[in-house]
Structure formats: structure tokens, C-alpha cells
């Protein structure tokens, strides 16, 4: 199999594992980390295709994804801290007050 295909498989697998982690996770911070995992999977795909097509656009995309990921983590952790303050827990099943 070609290298690009291999990297795409890897990216797909990592992404799916990230999604699984988000859906199954019970600790909010773990969920946040799985989101990072998904972003990294996407980065791998971008980078592999960028190198394959001999263009820099993919690498720039990687750059920006990383920056945005950083910003997102910062805000996300702030939210986690606030969550912890209100519920004294970051477990997802403890924050169900918006029940219908």
C-alpha cells in the first residue's frame, strides 16, 4: 500500500478512537484530550496529503489547526474549572441539570 494510503488509514483510525473516547468518556478532561486526539489525526492527514501533492497549503492548515487547538484547550480548561467549582466534580454524569 502506498504511504499516503497508510497515513490515511492511520488518520481514520486515530480519529475514530478519538470519537469513541469523547462518546464513552466520563471525565470531562479526558474528553477534552480525546478531542485533541481527533485534531491530531486530522493533522496527520493534512500533512501526508500536503507532502504527497507537493503543496504547502496542507502544512499551513496544520499550523492553524494547532493554534486553534491551543486556544480551544485554554478556554475548555477554564470551563472545566468553572464546572468543577459548581458541581465539585468533572464527571459528565454529575452535570445533568438541563434535563428535559
Amino acid at each position: 500500500m502506498g504511504a499516503v494510503t497508510g497515513y490515511l488509514y492511520l488518520s481514520a483510525l486515530l480519529f475514530s478512537l478519538g470519537v469513541l473516547g469523547v462518546l464513552v468518556g466520563r471525565n470531562t478532561i479526558v474528553i477534552l484530550m480525546c478531542v485533541e486526539l481527533m485534531l491530531n489525526a486530522v493533522n496527520i492527514a493534512f500533512e501526508a496529503l500536503s507532502v504527497h501533492f507537493q503543496t504547502l497549503d496542507g502544512q499551513i492548515a496544520v499550523f492553524f489547526v494547532m493554534s486553534v487547538a491551543a486556544a480551544e484547550v485554554a478556554v475548555g480548561l477554564a470551563i472545566v474549572i468553572t464546572l468543577f467549582r459548581n458541581y465539585l466534580s468533572v464527571e459528565t454524569h454529575d452535570a445533568v441539570t438541563l434535563r428535559g
Binding site: G2, A3, V4, T5, G6, Y7, L8, L10, A12, L14, S16, L17, G18, L20, G21, L23, V24, G25, I29, V30, M33, E36, L37, N40, N43, I44, E47, A48, L49, V51, H52, F53, L56, Q59, I60, V62, F64, M66, S67, V68, A70, A71, V73, A74, V75, L77, A78, V80, I81, T82, F84, R85, N86, Y87, L88, S89, V90, H93, D94, A95
Partner: protein
């Protein structure tokens, strides 16, 4: 795909399994750091040394440190109500994810990605591992997204500070985990 790439891929997958499967959130964080290192290794093997360096510096170095900070700060420990994968909900989710992976594999197979199955070109276009070229492009063609990202970071900083600002009020009666647990 070279042997090294395959080995590193397997390692990446194993460590990401660790991220989602560890009971202790600190262990999950450390597994994630490991995963990020392996991903950086992939970048390096592809010839994008600059991006690899940035990955380690920013992602593993800054972001994950922040996460670990918060984990330690909140004193999160191994939690009792384990998210064990034997719960029916989780089995269903895993099954759906499995289907998802299958679909993606089929997609890649059928060439939807549009990439002809080919060998990886060498890194010759990215002269010095990419730094020089990236810099050129970044500040000419992509200067607008660059600046906006700057603004985004500013907004994130301000937002994070504001959200996490210490509340003056103590935890009142009727708030907190006990109250929540009692309500149920």
C-alpha cells in the same frame, strides 16, 4: 510505507488506546503526551521537520502541560464509577464507531480521497524541513488567517481568564455535588 512508519503507527494506536482507556486521568494525559510524540515522529519521517518541532513544543510542551496542571489542581483521581466498556451503551457506541471506521476504510480504498496510490515524495520541495517555505507563504498568502488567529488567541486568553475568574461567593447551600446528588 516504511517499516519505521508502521512501527510508529502501531505505537501511536496503542498509546491512543491508553488515552481513552485509562482510569486515572493523569495516566490518560501522559498517554496523550506519548501519542503526540509519536505523531511528531510521523511528521519528521514525512520530512516536515519544522512542523514536528512545533508539534512537540506547542502541543506536547504547552497544551499538555496546561492540561496536567489542571488535573493536578483539581486533584482528580482514579474515579470509582468506571466507564467500563461492558455497559450496553458503550458497546453500542463502539459498534457504531466500528462501522464508522469501516466506512472510512472503504472510502480510502475507493480512492475518494482522490490520491493515487503512490509513494511518498521526498521532502525536496520543503528545503529545510519546511521552515523557510512555510514562513514565506505564511506571511504573504496566508497573512489574513495568521492575523485572525492572533485575534483568536487574544479572545481565548481573555475568555479563559474571565470564565475561570474566582467567584467571590462561596459555594452556597443547594450547590455542589452533594446537593446535586441529593436532588436525584
Amino acid at each position: 510505507m516504511s517499516l519505521a512508519a508502521i512501527i510508529f503507527s502501531i505505537l501511536t494506536i496503542i498509546s491512543s488506546l491508553g488515552v481513552i482507556g485509562c482510569a486515572n486521568p493523569l495516566n490518560s494525559a501522559l498517554c496523550l503526551v506519548l501519542t503526540l510524540f509519536f505523531v511528531a515522529a510521523h511528521y519528521a519521517m514525512m520530512g516536515a521537520h519544522f512542523v514536528a518541532a512545533i508539534q512537540v513544543l506547542v502541543y506536547a510542551g504547552a497544551i499538555m502541560v496546561l492540561v496536567i496542571f489542571v488535573i493536578m489542581l483539581l486533584g482528580l483521581e482514579r474515579d470509582e464509577s468506571s466507564s467500563d466498556f461492558k455497559k450496553p451503551r458503550n458497546v453500542l457506541t463502539a459498534a457504531v464507531i466500528g462501522l464508522f471506521i469501516g466506512m472510512l476504510i472503504v472510502a480510502v480504498q475507493s480512492g475518494v480521497a482522490g490520491a493515487p496510490v503512490d509513494g511518498l515524495a521526498d521532502a525536496s520541495i520543503v528545503n529545510d524541513g519546511g521552515g523557510h517555505a512555510i514562513g514565506q507563504v505564511l506571511f504573504t498568502r496566508y497573512v489574513l488567517p495568521f492575523e485572525i488567529t492572533g485575534m483568536l488567541l487574544l479572545a481565548a486568553i481573555i475568555g479563559a481568564v474571565y470564565i475561570a475568574h474566582e467567584q467571590r461567593k462561596p459555594l452556597a447551600e443547594g450547590r455542589g455535588l452533594k446537593a446535586v446528588r441529593n436532588r436525584e
